[in-house]
């Protein structure tokens, strides 16, 4: 909320400037978002003068030599370059010693040999405007010697304060003045209300309240007002707090709201049908066109102020065009009321409107302020626009004013604060804040909370008030002894560190992106189902409306950013959390991904072989081994998806982890990220539980002391068949065959060949099979026997044939 320093000072005699408040306001609980200066700053020694004589400078065509009086003392001799420093003009004189707004100081000087004792100022030099054609000429009415700040008053400082939701009482200038008065121990100067006695007739024939959410409603009738524009001071105040002046009546109502914190509403009495106001719940599907010219459909939970026919105001939120006070209004009804905060909050939220009025009502306004705020408004209306107040005030109900009283002892306050403070000091702080304090007995007080501080309900709240005024900065520091808890690093942290070291050793840079991505991106890359499952209910920004299912898009953003900025970027990786839709729930996994350009962008004198799919797969398997997964047992399957180039990517899908690696789709990279290079990427996601095993102590398994024996075999298979599948089959067969006599140690692919000499559609895979025994050196004959059995068995299904010349 915006607070004008100039306005604030009317309610409390602050002896400090705005800079001091910049420190004090946060201390008492009001964060200052910004502080902005308006108009002329304070300028010393710059006053109104009059040109007495003007002569041409003897040595310069464009300069004049003037004598200027500022009222007192001898006239000043001033050399001036302006064309309009004519005799008799009232001008602005910066005397010797004055400091101009931009910091430049006026000194006694000589211009081309002629002494000059000051400067005549232009508008621009003073920051009054852009005009620098000549000096600023004032009206004749300004007396000589008047300080410039009196000629141009209105310099102000505007604070933008962050007021927490529990302090609805501080959403006004009096509210903030009250807090500062308490802090500086000064009285609050409340505006005086004249006790006007009405003479006219009340304008309503009927005032009815049929809803519970409005315990107190007052309607004040004023006839024969004369609309117009509000006075300059009021316009300046309103503009200072960010409001646009509308017309006299509307401005007065708004101004009093920013003075007292009480929102009110003025109706044009002639627009009220049936001279009747009814505070009631809206009917279902009832519509209203609010002042922002939007048609709103109401529901039965919402409170409205209606006339005999239609709703005129969404209570406490916004008025309608139907009963708007305009320039031709002569008779008004002023509403000042107390509404249930929860009801206003719900209505404002449902309609998605937040107004100055609803903002205050939903944070609770002072029920005791309803009547005086209306009186203040009526005073200003009668003073500024004339009119006659009705004799009778039409009102319903009573302001809800059950006094809250809290019992508390000095011992409790000191015990909670942890430092010593005297009873008298405690008592005086509460009193300064408007609490009434009575001694119950020697130890305890009875503290009665003022009507505007109804959020204070417990003894602990009163302690908070004490420490707020005392100042947390004044509490003496003391040391605290705390036990330190020793424990091992979380396995996830250990894993992440190892992965980071590995990738950095591969020349990659570690990135960090936000966890949220845009829905549009999710839709395109991961499909509608993922988009719907990962959508946030209340996103802060539309481009961050969804949880990310993958780290790769973020890494591609970083690749694009760095290439656009001409940075030598080649390899990027990231670790973080991703979110995978699993039926109706979402599973959060830790993830690790990389994007590597196949070839460097920079020119190099020594060329390296470009990356390929196997390299990408290998990077991924390396980091997976840090997670304790046996890489040899992975089953890779072809992967197709929007992100990946068909036929150049593969995946492993396991319930506890998933891997994908390969070449990213070239067209997608070009269209979405403007990347024209080949990019290899890999990502793996895993449930953190599987890292739990990492810390376990391993048990030694004895191994054979005897050498291994190997045999090679080449199989002719369908070209489309993944080598890993054949390897697996061969392993199974070999293991079964060897088991009867000794054991199989490994099966390894060492050759892949297709082309000349082979039937079309076939490829040849060369395997090395390795055997070993626990208790003896194997003999050639026994190995050959097993090897023959393997050849026979592997060809039995017909899918594979043994290539003869192996």
């Amino acid at each position: 909320m915006k607070i004008s320093f100039d306005w604030l000072k009317r309610y409390v005699d602050l002896s400090v400037g705005p800079e001091a408040l910049l420190e004090v306001l946060p201390k008492i609980g009001f964060e200052v978002d910004s502080m902005e200066r308006r108009g002329l700053p304070l300028l010393e020694s710059i006053v109104v003068g009059e040109v007495l004589t003007r002569e041409k400078h003897p040595d310069a065509d464009k300069l004049s030599v003037c004598t200027v009086t500022v009222g007192e003392g001898d006239p000043l001799n001033i050399v001036c370059g302006a064309h309009n420093c004519d005799v008799g003009n009232r001008v602005i004189v910066a005397q010797v010693g004055a400091r101009m707004p931009e910091g430049f100081k006026i000194k006694r000087s000589k211009l081309r040999g002629v002494p000059s004792e000051g400067m005549l100022c232009s508008a621009r030099e003073l920051g009054l405007g852009q005009d620098h054609e000549g000096i600023y000429i004032l009206d004749q009415g300004h007396p000589l010697g008047t300080p410039i700040n009196d000629v141009f008053p209105g310099g102000d400082v505007i604070f933008d304060l962050e007021i927490t939701a529990n302090r609805g009482d501080c959403l006004s200038h009096i509210g903030i003045a009250r807090e500062l008065a308490a802090y500086y121990d000064l009285p609050v100067k409340h505006p005086e209300c004249k006790s006007v006695s009405g003479k006219g007739e009340a304008l309503l024939q009927n005032l009815e309240v049929t809803a519970q959410d409005c315990p107190y409603y007052t309607a004040w009738s004023v006839q024969g007002i004369c609309q117009g524009i509000s006075p300059d001071w009021m316009q300046k105040d309103l503009e200072a707090v960010g409001l646009r002046p509308v017309n006299l009546i509307v401005d007065i109502v708004n101004w009093v709201m920013f003075e007292t914190g009480q929102p009110m509403h003025a109706f044009d009495a002639k627009k009220i049908q049936g001279a009747s106001l009814i505070v009631r719940k809206a009917k279902a599907e009832e519509t209203i066109i609010t002042l922002d010219e939007k048609k709103r459909t109401l529901d039965a939970s919402m409170l409205v102020i209606a006339d005999a026919e239609r709703p005129l105001v969404v209570a406490g939120v916004m008025g309608s065009l139907d009963a708007e006070v305009d320039d031709s209004t002569t008779d008004i009804i002023l509403e000042s009321a107390y509404f249930n905060p929860a009801s206003i909050r719900q209505t404002a939220r449902t309609l998605n409107i937040s107004t100055d009025s609803s903002y205050r009502f939903e944070r609770d306004v002072d029920p005791a302020g309803v009547y005086p705020a209306a009186q203040r408004t009526i005073d200003l209306i009668l003073e500024l626009s004339g009119g006659t107040l009705a004799k009778e005030l039409q009102a319903f109900g009573e302001p809800p004013l059950e006094p809250v009283s809290i019992g508390i002892t000095g011992g409790y306050v000191r015990e909670l604060l942890g430092f010593d403070i005297k009873d008298e000091a405690i008592e005086s702080m509460w009193k300064r804040l408007g609490f009434s304090v009575k001694r119950d007995d020697a130890q305890s007080w009875k503290v009665v909370v003022p009507s505007y501080r109804r959020e204070v309900t417990r003894p602990v709240d009163l302690v908070e008030e004490v420490v707020r005024l005392f100042g947390t900065d004044k509490i003496e520091a003391s040391s605290v002894t705390l036990p330190v808890v020793h424990r091992k690093d979380d396995p996830v942290a250990t894993f992440n560190r190892e992965v980071a070291h590995y990738f950095v050793s591969q020349g990659a840079d570690e990135c960090c992106h936000y966890t949220m991505r845009s829905g549009e991106e999710l839709k395109q890359l991961f499909g509608d189902t993922a988009e719907a499952a990962l959508r946030l209910h209340n996103p802060l920004a539309s481009d961050q409306g969804h949880l990310r299912p993958s780290l790769i898009p973020g890494l591609l953003d970083a690749l694009q950013y760095n290439i656009h900025h001409g940075n030598d970027v080649r390899r990027l990786f990231e670790q973080g959390h991703v979110f995978l839709p699993q039926g109706k729930t979402v599973e959060e996994r830790i993830a690790c991904a990389f994007v590597f350009l196949a070839e460097p962008l920079e020119r190099t004198w020594k060329s390296e072989p470009p990356l390929d799919f196997y390299a990408a797969k290998n990077f991924l398997e390396c980091i997976l081994s840090y997670a304790g997964v046996d890489v040899a047992r992975l089953t890779w399957e072809p992967l197709s998806g929007v992100l990946w180039q068909d036929g150049h990517a593969a995946q492993v899908d396991h319930p506890k982890y998933a891997l994908s690696a390969g070449l990213l789709d070239l067209a997608l990279l070009k269209d979405r990220w403007g990347l024209r290079s080949m990019v290899y990427a890999g990502e793996f996601t895993l449930s953190p539980q599987i890292l739990g095993k990492l810390g376990k102590v391993k048990t030694f398994e004895p191994f054979s002391a005897f050498p291994s024996v190997t045999r090679d075999i080449a199989l002719l298979v369908d070209a489309a068949l993944p080598a890993a599948k054949v390897e697996k089959d061969l392993f199974r067969v070999a293991e079964a065959a060897a088991k009867k006599v000794f054991s199989l140690e490994s099966v390894n692919i060492f050759d892949v060949y297709s082309g000349e000499g082979l039937p079309s559609g076939k490829k040849s895979l060369g395997f090395e099979i390795s055997f070993r025994s626990q208790d003896r050196t194997l003999k050639d004959a026994e190995v050959s026997e097993v090897f023959d059995a393997i050849q026979k068995e592997i060809t039995a299904s017909g899918a594979y044939t043994v290539r003869d010349n192996a």
């Binding site: 909670l416 602990v460 840079d509 936000y514 970083a558 760095n562 900025h565 940075n567 970027v569 990027l572």
Partner: protein, 58 residues
């Protein structure tokens, strides 16, 4: 930076007796600590992923 004494209502909602338990809370975003520690002048550097920034901390 937010810090202060814990409101008794917070203790109640997690089944601690506020008559017995009192506490202080203080929190600071990891970004701010990193900025102070390394003299980073703009928080956006941390998520911009400019390699000239990343390489200073690899």
């Amino acid at each position: 930076m937010g810090c202060g004494m814990v409101d008794p209502e917070v203790f109640k909602s997690v089944d601690y007796d506020p008559e017995v338990w009192r506490g202080y809370a203080a929190g600071m975003g990891v970004e701010r600590i990193a900025m102070l520690l390394h003299g980073v002048d703009d928080i956006r550097h941390l998520y911009q992923n400019d390699v000239r920034f990343l390489r200073q901390f690899s």
